[in-house]
Each structure stands twice: as structure tokens, then as C-alpha cells.
Amino acid sequence: MSGTFIGMPAFSPPTLPAFSPPTLPAFPTAAKEAVRNPTLRRNLRYATHTIRAKRAAAVSELDDWAALREAGRQIKDHTLRHLDRYLLQLEESVTAAGGVVHWAADADEANRIVTGLVKATGESEVVKVKSMATQEIGLNEALAAEGIHAYETDLAELIVQLGRDRPSHILVPAIHRNRGEIRDIFTHEMSEWGRPAPEGLSDTPAELAEAARLHLREKFLRAKVGISGANFMVAETGTLAVFESEGNGRMCLTLPETLISVVGIEKLVPTWRDLEVFLQTLPRSSTAERMNPYTSMWTGTTDDDGPRTFHLVLLDNGRTDTLADRVGRQALRCIRCSACLNVCPVYERAGGHAYGSVYPGPIGAILSPQLRGTASDIDASLPYASSLCGACYEVCPVAIDIPEVLVHLRERVVEGGPAVRQGAKVTLRPARGHAAERAAMRAARWTFRHPGALRAGQRLASGTRRLVPRTLPGPGRAWSATRDLPKLPPEPFREWWRRTHRPGGQAPADRQEDQR
């Protein structure tokens, strides 16, 4: 979904590297900068808390929310279980309705297909509806390399594009930008891309929106090719649906002669009846609206109305690999509502860019390491970018147990093990940098299997407790830089119990246990 967003009060964001995993720092490093930027913190806090409260109110209006959530989960699970069948059905119905279906195994193939289709029209400009899938594959960059300009028409995406920036939120990609900056970006950059910003543009939301409207209108009326994603695809009729708030989507989907939609294969539902569930859960979870202002649906092509040519590019790009994983596959249920971002205490403080992907927040932390693998520093660190507080799972309208998947992916990082990559079964090696932790975990397990050893350790600690400092050197600083350590007690509980509850200090069963 897309929502209208017109910026926060002033601050300067850092300049950001592109989302190319091998070059990106691990999450904690990237998050550190955001945490130390008080204005960014304040802005994100304000924005997430506002939408969080609105969503809660919109959801609480429905008595049958729990049932809708469960229905959404089941529809998606059923579709994923029979994805092969429904995809073929979709291809048949799209073709029957006059569309052309293309299959793309990865980002390169999808970019090649789309670039080829645009070039075949002879056009060098396209207008775009906000689409996560095209950002995931880096389509704009691929088109630019072939001399084709792609114009983003969603207001926030326009801000991101004109500012040569990266999105930091699924729903409100420019959540990190404030109104003053948006005014500056419009004033300096619009003329380079088309109609310049009006003279003396102020930073009021109404003036900024009007400037964008005038700038974009020119593009809509001129464009011969539109590129979109889709929120849903209905297998039985070959219908695609886009949910949005600004009406730019409606323009891109109806005005151009050629429409190319790039859609992840998991966006499928079998029937129109299934759509009914998500028509209720998506807007409420996303923009906290009962219904989104624009829901556009199209089925192939129609004579004398809308695009004459329609291409559907079905994108895999790691989705089939993800589907092969028993625990991780639930991430494919995601309908990109962004509710999990808005409730996440980590996202609120780290910001979207730290996640190093077009998918930030909790869903990004489980999606990126599955779609891209866990080889890079950023992808191997994402499963740890959570305190496992469970707020994301609680609000997710398709009940994705994000903490469960995070822990599962942590296991993949530290232990390696079986996975599917590019359709082939592989055995992953444990990630680098976890050797000390692994040894500590083994040692702890051994101690905990031997209560006598635990007791000995506790007694040693208590005996030397006056020597234990309240802060730690080396890696321990990660704790003690901001927190005191608890004082060690004079004796652990079990010593007290032994002294006070057992005549002679020890029961026979325990003595036996201690000698193991």
C-alpha cells in the first residue's frame, strides 16, 4: 500500500550507501548512528507512535479482527502450499484476458525482461506506481543504464527519488525526511526532472503537495509506458489489484498505452472471495483507514479503455528458496502493510536504512536473510536486530510469527545446516565470528547439565564478589558502557536453601546429583 506523507520537522539525514549487501555494515554499526541522532529519534518516535495508535483504533473497531487475521493466514498458507497450481492458473487467465505473462527467476532476468519490453515500445520514459518488487530488483537503475528514465509518482517515492535517497519505510519511504528538506529538494531538483517547483515554495503540506501534483501531472499525461507492482493477483480471473491513497496509481495504471507489472509470486490469492479479507485487513493495518482511497483492479486489456498492452512479470528472486523452508516460509504471507515496523521498538530507534534493504523493520529482518541469503555482514546480523519482544507478531494481519523466524535464522547463522539456494539443496556453513559465543554456549550447557559444577561456580563468584567490578573491560563494555552490573549476593539461593531447609545441609538425592 502507499500512504500520503508530507514530512517531519527539520533535521539532516546522513548520506546513505546503496543497498548492496556486500558493501553494507552490519546492523549494530548502522543503527549506532541513528540512535545518536536525536532529531531522527524524535521524528521516528513521533511518526511511529502516531500511526501505531491510529492502527490500534482502526483494528479495535472490528469485532471479528482475530477471525479475519486467521482467515488471512490460512488463505496465504493454502495458496503457498499450492503455489505451482495457482500460478499456472493465473498465467492462463491473464493470457485469456489479453495479457502476456513473463517468468523471472531473479532480479537480473526481471530487469532484462522489463528493459526489453520498454525498449520495444521505442519510449525512453516510464511512470511508476510505488512498488516494493521493482525496488527489490533495482529496476530504476537497470532502466537508467539503458537510457530510460523511470519517474516515481508516489509522493514519498518522488521525494526519495529527487533527493537521490533510499526509502526507509515500506509505507512512507521518506519518513526520515522533514518538510524543510522536502521543500529544498523540490526547489533544487524538480527542474532537472521536469516541471520546476513554483517560485517561493513554502514547506506547508498543501503547497508541497500542489508542487508535486503539478510536476507529476505533466509526466502522467505524456507517459506511454507505466510500470507497477501489485498488492494482490487473483488466480481465477487474472485480475491484479493496487491499493493506494494518492490516486497516482490509478493514473499510471490507466493512462499509458503499455502497462508492465512486476509482481512477486507470493502475491497470489485464488479467488475474489479471498480478496475480501485483505480489503479489510490491509488498509486498517497499514494507514489505519477503514478503506483505502483508491483500489484499482484490472484484468488483462480492454478495447478503447486503459492500456492496449499488458505485461505481467512474475518474480521469484529467492521466493521459491524461502518457500522450501518449513519455518521461514511464513514470511511469504506478508502483505507489506508495515504495521510491524510501526510497533517495533528497534525500528523506532535504528531507523529504516540500518536494515540495508528495501524491506526494513521486523519483516525485513526475516525477509532479506532469506531472499538474499546470510553470506553478507548485514544479512547475517539482521536476525539479531530484535529483542524478540513480540509486538510485531501481535499486530501482523497475517499472523507471521516473526520472533520464531528470527530465532530460526539465528540458528542458520550460528549452526549453518540445510537450506535451499537457487533451487538447489545446500548445506550452509556457520557464519564467521560466532566461535567464542558457540564455545560459551557449550560450556554453559555443560555446567547446566551438572548442578554440582554450577554450584561450585556460584560459590567461587560469591567468594570473590568484592573483586568483581561494576563495569567491564573489553567485550563486556557492550553491557557496562550504559548499565551497572548487578551486585553479586553473599550467597546464591541454593546455598541459603541448603542451610535452612535441609537438616545436615544435603538430601541424599542431591548429593548423588552433585557428584555426577
Binding site: 554456549m441 554453559a444 548442578p451 550504559t482 539461593f493 541454593r494 541459603w496 538425592a509
Partner: protein, 251 residues
């Protein structure tokens, strides 16, 4: 009823006062409490850090130690959630990995018998007024596992409200995580510290003398942050408040 106290490794080692408080409280309510000396750790840290296979022997050990008790009570929301929510998952995953049903079968009986302290008081013993006295202003932080995994709901608040002399004040942003999260506190220390600071500032804003929670792991993080920020609020486990009486007040 044979009731075992599962104190948890953190409380045993660092917070024996909480253990003594649970024993005192349950004894006062007429429950005969045992502390099986062979108990150690539920395996939560292993599991949540990605070492599920290392958590399995600890879960089996837990079952060996506690299997003969009718009820197992623990003053830790996250350890109770480990047993109740994640032990069944350990069994499922072992089965899915072709290792048979032995682990699932061994762990199944102890799962429903494991109770977090406030659950045990309200649901099993059926009491909310435990006869406690604590003449202080208290604000309550519902920890994430207690809130979302166990669904403790208003049980802790009902127990606190019945304590004589206690003035319970609402904590702003109560349902937000304090930022502990086990190894998260170290692996993502900057974000964790920021979350902890916000929690402490919220607690300060209530004017309460005491921040109460039902999990010492979170209180260790919050308390450590409080000490560093030199706040006047002090962290206290709910068991210690409920154990406090006019004759033997918590100091």
C-alpha cells in the same frame, strides 16, 4: 499439592532475595514449596541465540528434575514462556528433523504444569489479596514474555492493587520492550541502551518510588540503567512486594 520452585539460573545466582520472597509468600499462603537442588537453567538463552540443539539437553534435564511435581512455579515470565511456548516447539522441530517423538513426549507433561508466579497465585490458588503490605508508590512494567507470550493480562496489577498501602501508578508506554532481550542487550547494545533509557525516563515521569516487574532479567537491565542515570526509582521484583508484610516489611 507438591509444588516445586523453579527459581531460574539468573535468580539463583544473582537474585536470591527474590527466591526467598517466593518461598515466604507461598508458605504464608499454605503451599508447601520444594526447591529441587538439581535444577539449573531452562535453556532460554541457548534457544533464543540460535543454539536450539544445545537447549534440548537442558529441556530434558528440566523435565527430569521437575516431572514428579504437580505444579512448577517460577518468578520469571520469560522462563515460564520458554517452557510453555517453546518446549513444545523443541519437540516439533526434533520430529520434523526425523528424530522421532521422544523429545516431544518427554517434555509434554511438564508444559501445562509450569506456571509463572502471578498466574499460579491468581489461577491456581485463586487469590488476589495475598495479605501483603508495602506502603510505597509503585509503577508496573509488564515484561514482553509475560505480556505477549503468556498473556498474563491484568493479573499482576490485580495482585498489586490488593496490597495494603501500595499506590499503583500507570507507566507510560508500559507495553514497550525495555530493550533487554537476552543477548540483544550486548549484540545491539546501542539500541538496547536507548530502549532502556526511554523505559527509565517513563518510570521517572510517574513519580513512583519503585518500578516493579515479574522478571529479574529485565529488571537487571532496567536497574543497571537506573543506577547509571542516577534515578531515584528502584527496581523491585513483584514477589518481594507480595512477600512484604507489616511484621516483616521489605526494606
Amino acid at each position: 499439592m507438591r509444588v516445586a520452585l523453579f527459581l531460574t539460573c539468573v535468580n539463583d545466582t544473582l537474585y536470591p532475595d527474590t527466591g526467598r520472597a517466593v518461598v515466604k509468600l507461598l508458605t504464608r499462603l499454605g503451599v508447601e514449596v520444594d526447591f529441587p537442588m538439581a535444577q539449573t537453567c531452562c535453556g532460554q538463552a541457548h534457544y533464543n541465540t540460535g543454539y536450539r540443539h544445545q537447549a534440548e539437553p537442558l529441556a530434558r534435564h528440566f523435565s527430569d528434575v521437575f516431572k514428579d511435581y504437580e505444579a512448577i512455579v517460577t518468578p520469571s515470565g520469560s522462563c515460564a514462556a520458554m517452557v510453555r511456548e517453546l518446549y513444545p516447539r523443541l519437540g516439533d522441530r526434533a520430529r520434523a528433523e526425523g528424530r522421532g517423538t521422544a523429545l516431544a513426549e518427554q517434555l509434554a507433561p511438564i508444559v501445562p504444569r509450569t506456571h509463572e508466579l502471578t498466574e499460579f497465585l491468581v489461577d491456581v490458588l485463586g487469590v488476589t489479596d495475598v495479605g501483603a503490605y508495602f506502603p510505597h508508590t509503585v509503577t508496573y512494567h509488564p515484561t514482553c514474555h509475560g505480556l505477549r507470550a503468556l498473556g498474563l493480562g491484568d493479573r499482576p496489577r490485580r495482585l498489586l492493587s490488593a496490597v495494603r498501602g501500595l499506590d499503583l501508578v500507570e507507566l507510560p508506554g508500559a507495553e514497550e520492550c525495555c530493550g533487554f532481550g537476552g543477548t540483544f542487550a550486548v549484540k545491539n547494545s546501542d539500541v538496547s541502551a536507548a530502549m532502556g533509557t526511554d523505559k527509565v525516563r517513563n518510570a521517572e515521569s510517574t513519580g513512583a518510588e519503585v518500578l516493579c516487574a515479574a522478571d529479574n532479567s529485565c529488571l537487571m537491565h532496567i536497574g543497571g540503567t537506573m543506577a547509571r542515570l542516577r534515578t531515584t526509582v528502584r527496581p523491585v521484583h513483584i514477589a518481594e512486594i507480595l512477600a512484604s508484610t507489616e511484621e516483616e516489611p521489605l526494606t
